[in-house]
Amino acid sequence: MAGSLTDALAQSRDDERRRAARAILRRPLLRADGPDAESFALVQRHSAHLRAWFHTHAGWSLLVTPELARLTKTMDADGPGAHTHPAVTARPRRPFTRRRYVLACLLLAVLSRADAQITLGGLADDVLLAAADPDLAATGLEFTLDSRAQRGDLAAAVRLLIEYGVLSRVAGDEDLFVEDTGDVLYDVHRRALAGMLASARGPSTIATAASSGPAERFAERLARLTFEPPAGSEQLGDERIRRWLTRRLLDDPVVYYDDLSPRARALLDGRRAALTGAVADLTGLVPEVRAEGIAMVDPDGTLTDVRMPEGGTDGHAALLLATHLATVDVPVQVAELESLIRSRAHGFAAQGFWRRGAAEPGADRIIVRTALDRLEALGLIRRGRGADGEPTVQPRPAIARYAVTAPAADGVMELPGPEDPDTANPEVEHSDAGHPGTALAVEDQPAEHSSRHTEEHAR
């Protein structure tokens, strides 16, 4: 009796810890007040456990103060998917542009010297002043607040800081500022501001040789930003690789063996169960171990910023492309994918499955780009260029998760051969309500393009 009660308590504590860990992994900067309050309370309650875990296993530091919780996710190097984590605007979710990145940094610089409250107008003036810095002006970026677009850029950068709790809105609305009809008052939260940077070194302490070209200089800067001094001993080196692997397992959708150094690969092979087990215990993720790598997959589907599969036009397009790409093994031209989407878009839009405008000329490019962004972010494809310089897409092994296959054991129905790419594109609608147990679309014989076209029109 007492035993079962203890067990129940322990399990509820473990559950809470798991939720706390997932919360801080999903949002590495949690404010104590506002929308994060519940998550913050969880993290605060289990801060000792989490701090110890992240420090021991991942080498990440977790800071919990009464105002905020910050998990400093340091990255050792730019991994294969490093560029797939852009800062995004809130609505619609769109990656930041150069101008917005620069503005966000200038805002932070200005805010770190600002008082406890500030208006957007005041911020704008200070930012313009900071942007007039000769070095920055030399890059050719010009900042004014004359146009609506420019003010919109500033508002987007400000909203990003609001999202991370550096600023909170006291009065006003950025939209009014963008329309040039009003101003906004903010509280500045110094602790959150101080917690923004996660790099091991302050960027201002890194100087680079002026002689090298922009790309080399950038690479050098990045390398020095994420540089870690060499480990003193073999054992420490192993320890570091272990932490690095744990970080990848915690943060990345798929860890491919191909991307690992031989030493890391050997270490992962030797301690795979321990490493994945630790991550699984903390987060509730499930290791999916395959010949090509490991994916920590999420039964909840919540510990991610990019979902797959997902409904909606973009989610559906990504799924269509994934099922298509799952059957090929060679680089595919992006143009081919665009024509694929173009050929389907009309039908889907006509039936109301896809958003209006999806069938308009040019929409296919955007849809394909968005879908490929998603697939790339999830480590399912790799972008490249073909011999002719055309953009191509190389499917990566895990994309096979999204293939359509025969439920061979059931033998309920006859299936087209998997080597035919068209079968992966279930565009023909049947009444499938009668087959609830099957996980695939019922297909006609692969149709010719022309016939498919007419069919869609007929519908």
Binding site: P28, A82, H85, C105, A295, D298, M308, R401, Y402, A441
Partner: protein, 549 residues
């Protein structure tokens, strides 16, 4: 050169402070002060140039040394005498040469400036020791005052010392409080020093406050005791001794010894008053000691505020701004978009963890049929994805039937039925209420709802009827109706007419037959009519009874 041998107008020895070349003027005067310390009175321009600390770096806009000397002479700070010493070149000889020395005005101005600077630079201190000294002198005075013939020398000395120490204390306290105000308005550069210093400062303030409370009370008590004993006697003594010491002034008719004494005594009385006011307050004017204590006390929280503000300022380390500016530069120079996104992740590390999803069915399938780790993804069973999602791009919830049924329709149906029943019952009741005794045989035809209710009532009444009793009265369980049932007399008029003591009630479903009774049914919910109808044979028959009759 516009100098004259002697300043034509009134000397303006402070004028040079307001001039553009003030630092040079100050430096020149400084050389004279320095020279005078070494007992050198006259200085040649060459000497001055050599002694100037930065003679080689005189700013272009400031006047030349010669011009400066001439100006100083013009304002009356310096006096020049022709220099008659030997020279070695014609040019030198032709040039006007002078020896300079400070005038009295200049000297006084320098002294004043030194005092001024010293006062500005003074950090001041709160003197606990001074308080002790003051208390000590007061005790001494108290002893003297208590004695019949105080010794004038000792009295004078004690008063003198008291005044000196007190002036010290007051001046210092004032300086300290202003210095504290300056300290609290601390600058960035002094922050470290301040944080190191604040512990000691607070400790010091606390000790002073304690002493001020302790010793201050003793001082106040002593002051009052001395006044009670007669302080004026002591003051007069001191004044007399002061007067005796004063050197005879220039022959001045009015300045008699008496007048001097009176002046001196007035001064002493003022001093005492001031002293008294410092330690003993009135209702309207708190004592200076009290004010000081209040200030010192309020300085402590202010100090602590400064400390926290400093910590705050420190948490926005100034190099943060530099870091962000550097990052802005890096973003501006990043070669392409991917580079910018990479930089964002590396510098800020704010990205959420990202994982592929898996559904419960797939997991279950894997639990039954585990996939070996060496299986390539392509050979492993893929994710179970809803065909509907694949086909239409919109989700259907898989595997989980809706657990909460929508019962609103059924509920509405039930509610309607209940309402219907209530209506029917109410109607039946209204119909059944006889309003007086009625023969059962006169009831005649009843609708099903009425009949059901009637039957229930009859059943209740018959069940409640004791054996052998002829009359029974019961009310229904819900208290809505009451029935009074009596057996019919065979001799009744109607009985005779009908010829049988049997009653018949017809309903659409059949006919109820039984021995005739007289019933009286009252609807208790419809109180007025029910109660109004008295139990009596002459009561009017209800509608159905009349119909039946």
């Amino acid at each position: 050169m516009d100098q004259a041998d002697a300043p034509a107008e009134t000397p303006r020895p402070f004028a040079h402070l307001q001039q553009p070349g003030a630092p040079l003027y100050r430096a020149i005067m400084g050389t004279f002060v320095q020279a005078k310390r070494r007992f050198i009175v006259h200085l040649r321009p060459e000497d001055i140039r050599a002694m100037l600390p930065d003679h080689g770096r005189t700013p272009a806009e400031s006047p030349s040394l010669d011009g400066a000397l001439a100006s100083l002479e013009h304002w009356g700070n310096l006096r020049s005498d022709p220099d008659t010493s030997r020279v070695t070149s014609v040019e030198e000889f032709r040039r006007a040469r002078y020896l300079y020395q400070m005038t009295d005005h200049g000297q006084a101005a320098e002294d004043a400036l030194q005092t001024y600077e010293a006062a500005l630079g003074r950090r001041g201190s709160l003197q606990s020791v001074a308080l002790d000294d003051i208390a000590g002198r007061l005790r001494e005075l108290h002893t003297l005052a208590s004695s019949g013939t105080p010794e004038p020398g000792a009295t004078h000395l004690a008063l003198r010392t008291l005044v000196d120490r007190f002036e010290d204390l007051a001046a210092n306290a004032q300086a300290f409080m202003s210095a504290l105000a300056r300290t609290i308005d601390v600058q960035d550069a002094e922050a470290d020093a301040f944080v190191a210093y604040k512990e000691r400062l607070i400790e010091y303030l606390e000790r002073f406050i304690k002493d001020l409370v302790g010793t201050g009370a003793e001082i106040a008590r002593l002051v009052e005791q001395i006044e009670d004993l007669g302080v004026d006697r002591l003051l007069r003594m001191a004044a007399e001794r002061d007067t005796r010491d004063t050197a005879p002034g220039p022959a001045d008719a009015g300045d008699t010894a008496d007048a001097v004494l009176a002046r001196s005594l007035a001064l002493w009385r003022d001093r005492w008053q001031g002293f008294r006011a410092w330690f003993i307050g009135s209702a309207h004017h708190p004592s200076q000691a009290m004010v000081l204590r209040g200030q010192a006390r309020s300085a402590i929280p202010r100090l602590l505020q400064v400390v926290s503000a400093l910590h705050d300022r420190r948490s926005r380390r100034s190099d943060r701004a530099a870091d962000f500016r550097a990052l802005a530069q890096w973003f501006a120079e990043a070669p392409d978009e991917d580079a910018m996104h990479t930089l964002w992740r590396s510098a800020f590390g704010l990205q959420p963890s990202r994982h592929l999803g898996v559904d419960a069915d797939t997991l279950e399938a894997r639990a039954y049929d585990p996939v070996p780790p060496e299986t390539p993804w392509a050979d492993a069973p893929p994710l179970l994805i809803s065909p509907r999602l694949r086909r239409t791009g919109s989700y259907e919830r898989r595997g989980r039937p809706a657990q909460v049924l929508d019962r609103s329709l059924a509920r509405r149906h039930l509610a309607e039925r209940a309402a219907q029943e209530v209506r029917e019952t109410a109607r039946a009741r209204a119909r059944l209420a006889t309003g007086g005794p009625v023969r059962l045989s006169d009831v005649g035809t009843l609708e099903p709802a009425e009949f059901r209710l009637f039957l229930g009532l009859l059943g209740d009444a018959l069940a409640a009827k004791p054996l052998g009793a002829r009359t029974v009265e019961v009310s229904t369980g819900d208290g809505a109706m009451a029935i009074r049932l009596s057996e019919c007399d065979a001799a009744g008029p109607e009985a005779g007419e009908s010829g049988a003591a049997m009653a018949e009630i017809r309903t659409p479903d059949g006919i109820l037959r039984g021995p005739d009774h007289i019933v009286e049914i009252r609807d208790l919910t419809a109180a007025p009519t029910g109660v109004a109808g008295p139990v009596g044979d002459e009561a009017p028959l209800p509608e159905f009874a009349r119909r039946g009759a």
